[in-house]
């Protein structure tokens, strides 16, 4: 069988156009390698990409762990993980960080009792899934509005959470960071760092109130139904990207990375179980 087109889905987190720009080099290389027209798509939220993968209209995406779990739970035959990003330190994990405004006097989850708490996107691992499981372990209560927190809301995404906390819409919220580097810089990479770089927040005015256990980096996935040679060619391209074009890899992998390494479905079983837990 043949494909006539290869379609790459891009998850949110940045300006749609920045995302397209950052991945333009990957698009060109893929087109060259596969010999078919390749296109980039940048839907507004995680769900947009996931629906595309499920419906077979998107062939490849770099999902979050929870996003992968959702795809798998909806249709186990839809996609398969191929590669995962490896951090500069060799690990492939990141953290969900709980934070609040310094001037609110909140310094820990205890202080958050009765306050407004902000999640990100429902399909985010660090912005919802992991904290929604690990935070109750600390507080000993559920995440339902009124149980422990006064109100629990979804901001819609990591950026909105940060701005929301900074503006006082939420008393505290969770977002992701690599956990490396300094707090005052917003860590080495992650949503906080981007907000600092953009001049949106001053880390002096924020405090960390919670940190999760390491979260496995999300997989780069391909649609299972793709022809085998396409999968092989594309995986090879992705795997060699950091070495052949570091600049391109920086854009595609959202910052410094040591490289990518193969990964399978098993690495995400935990997340899938976690996600099942949250479904009613």
């Amino acid at each position: 069988e043949e494909i006539s087109e290869f379609r790459i889905g891009l998850l949110g987190g940045e300006n749609a156009q920045d995302r397209l720009n950052n991945n333009e080099c990957l698009r060109a290389k893929t087109e060259e390698v596969l010999g078919v027209p390749t296109k980039l798509f940048a839907p507004a939220d995680y769900n947009g990409v996931i629906q595309g993968l499920l419906g077979g209209t998107i062939d490849m995406a770099w999902l979050g762990a929870s996003g992968y779990a959702k795809t798998y739970l909806s249709d186990p035959e839809a996609v398969e993980p191929i590669l995962v990003k490896v951090n500069v330190d060799g690990g492939y994990g990141y953290y969900s960080i709980g934070f609040a405004r310094k001037d609110s006097g909140i310094t820990s989850l205890e202080d958050m009792k009765g306050k407004t708490f902000g999640f990100g996107d429902p399909n985010s691992t660090s912005g919802f899934l992991i904290p929604s499981i690990e935070i109750p372990e600390v507080t000993g209560s559920t995440m339902t509005s009124g149980d422990y927190f006064g109100e629990v809301k979804f901001s819609g995404g990591h950026e909105q959470t940060i701005v929301g906390v900074n503006n006082g819409d939420f008393d505290g919220g969770v977002t992701w960071a690599d956990g490396l580097g300094e707090w005052e810089d917003g860590y080495n990479s992650g949503a906080l760092r981007r907000a600092v770089d953009a001049g949106l927040v001053d880390m002096n005015e924020l405090v960390k109130i919670w940190q999760s256990k390491p979260i496995p980096e999300g997989p780069i996935v391909l649609r299972k139904a793709l022809p085998e040679d396409v999968k092989v060619k594309f995986t090879a391209l992705m795997a060699s990207l950091p070495s052949i074009d570091p600049d391109c890899a920086y854009g595609v992998l959202s910052g410094e990375a040591k490289g990518v390494q193969p990964i399978g479905h098993d690495a995400y079983e935990v997340i899938i179980e976690a996600r099942k837990l949250k479904s009613n």
């Binding site: 749609a16 156009q17 397209l20 839907p43 507004a44 209209t57 953009a198 002096n204 005015e205």
Partner: protein
């Protein structure tokens, strides 16, 4: 006197009562409105909102919409100094070059923020900021000891925000942020920088006349290319996005009109005497219309994926509902006489519709379709924000990441212009097609 005094008295009493009722009515309505708005006032917590109102954000938004900032950054680990417009990679000055207010030295970098404000990056991560009428602030960030700021005598003013590992100084001239890893200066300028050409273009910074002259000198296509592919403002992508938005509106509206017209006959009393068929068709219209285009977008995204086609189909489905309803109402209002006139000549049913019905309803239908074309341009903006296409996505994403407010402003201006142009265009078409059509074939 036409009537007796008695009767007049009776009339007066009646009038009194009448006016009492009127007073109640004319009071009752405003009272209801005020009561409801009061309820809303509390239900929506407007007082609390006023407290949370972020004047700073509003100011930042307004300021950023017509100004830009240039970042001068030193990486305190490597000592490298870079100058970048809006701090973005695509706005970075090539190594060794800088705007004239930044003097790059071997060890010292002198940044003149204007009005006497001067920031100097010295050796060993040393930073000094000479603030007129206040004094010189120095700092020497290091990994071990933090920022180590030294301020002039006296109470620390509120425009300085300092902690062990971080210090921010915000003045009218600009902003200085020092952390252990980085030292960064912002200077603000009015305007939309790099709107025409980015720094890597040879045409950047040239006066308009000069660019014009070069364009006439045969460089027109190169100039256009540099402008069109401007990485900062991405004019090409924006143009495509606008086009996609209009395309969604056009395909959706026209497609819906074409689907709805035959269906409308099924829903019109005078054309479909069968109650069952009529009711089923009408309920279908209600359903298509009642489920908003937004939800159709989500439903369709699974089958067609993100993109303008999905948006166009969502508009098509919703508007089939709206048009179906409106068209069938128009059809129910047709003048039977004309149809009978055509029928009496022995015309076939299809000819009866063509000449007895269509000429009557075209003006109404046409004006409704064109009105929707304009309003769908607005809807398409929103739908694009969800399906991933068009100017709507660019706008919402630029807003959500909350940095490039000048881009947000640019998109908003473009959207308003786009909608106004479509409004004007549909009005023009309406006049041309409906009133200008003399023989009305």
């Amino acid at each position: 006197m036409s009537i007796t005094a008695n009767e007049t008295d009776f009339l007066k009493i009646q009038a009194d009562r009448h006016f009492a009722k009127k007073k109640l009515m004319s009071f009752g309505l405003p009272v209801l409105v005020v009561a409801y708005l009061t309820y809303i006032f509390f239900a929506f917590d407007i007082l609390g909102l006023a407290q949370r109102f972020e004047a700073d954000n509003a100011r930042a938004l307004v300021a950023d919409s017509y100004s830009y900032k240039t970042h001068v950054t030193r990486d305190n680990r490597s000592g490298d100094v870079s100058v970048a417009i809006e701090g973005e990679r695509k706005g970075t000055y090539p190594k060794g070059t800088s705007p004239e207010w930044v003097t790059l030295g071997d060890t010292d970098t002198v940044i003149d923020l204007g009005d006497g404000h001067v920031v100097t990056f010295g050796a060993d991560n040393f930073v000094s900021y000479d603030v007129p009428e206040y004094g010189v602030i120095t700092a020497q960030p290091s990994r071990a000891k933090g920022v180590q700021a030294v301020l002039p005598e006296g109470e620390m003013p509120e425009w300085i925000n300092a902690s062990k590992n971080r210090m921010t100084i915000t003045t009218e001239a600009g902003r200085l942020t020092i952390t252990r890893n980085r030292t960064e200066v912002f200077r603000y300028f009015t305007g939309w920088e790099l709107f025409f050409f980015t720094l890597d273009s040879p045409y950047h910074g040239l006066p308009v006349g000069e660019v014009m002259a070069r364009a006439l000198g045969g460089e027109a296509s190169a100039i256009w290319q540099d402008f069109w592919t401007n990485k900062m403002w991405r004019h090409q992508d924006v143009a495509w996005a606008i086009f996609e938005t209009i395309l969604m509106a056009f395909l959706g509206t026209m497609g819906a009109a074409m689907v709805a017209l035959p269906l409308a006959f099924l829903a019109a009393k005078n054309f479909t005497p069968l109650v069952v068929v009529r009711q089923i068709t009408r309920r279908f219209f209600d359903f298509f219309r009642g489920v908003d285009a937004l939800i159709w977008t989500i439903v369709l995204a699974r089958a067609f994926g993100p993109g303008p086609l999905t948006g166009a189909l969502a508009i098509l489905i919703t508007d089939t509902g709206s048009f179906g309803k409106m068209f069938s109402e128009a059809l129910e209002n047709v003048d039977q006489k004309q149809i009978e006139g055509v029928q009496s000549t022995g015309a076939k049913p299809i000819q009866r519709y063509r000449f007895g019905v269509i000429p009557q309803v075209t003006p109404v239908l046409m004006s409704q379709v064109l009105y929707f074309l304009e309003s769908n341009t607005r809807s398409a903006t929103i739908i694009g924000a969800i399906t991933g296409g068009g100017i709507g996505l660019m706008l919402t994403q630029a807003m959500i990441t909350q940095k490039d407010w000048e881009e947000v402003t640019y998109y908003i201006v473009l959207i308003i212009l786009m909608v106004m142009v479509m409004d004007w265009f549909s009005g023009w078409l309406r006049r041309k097609l409906i009133t200008g059509d003399e023989s009305g074939h």
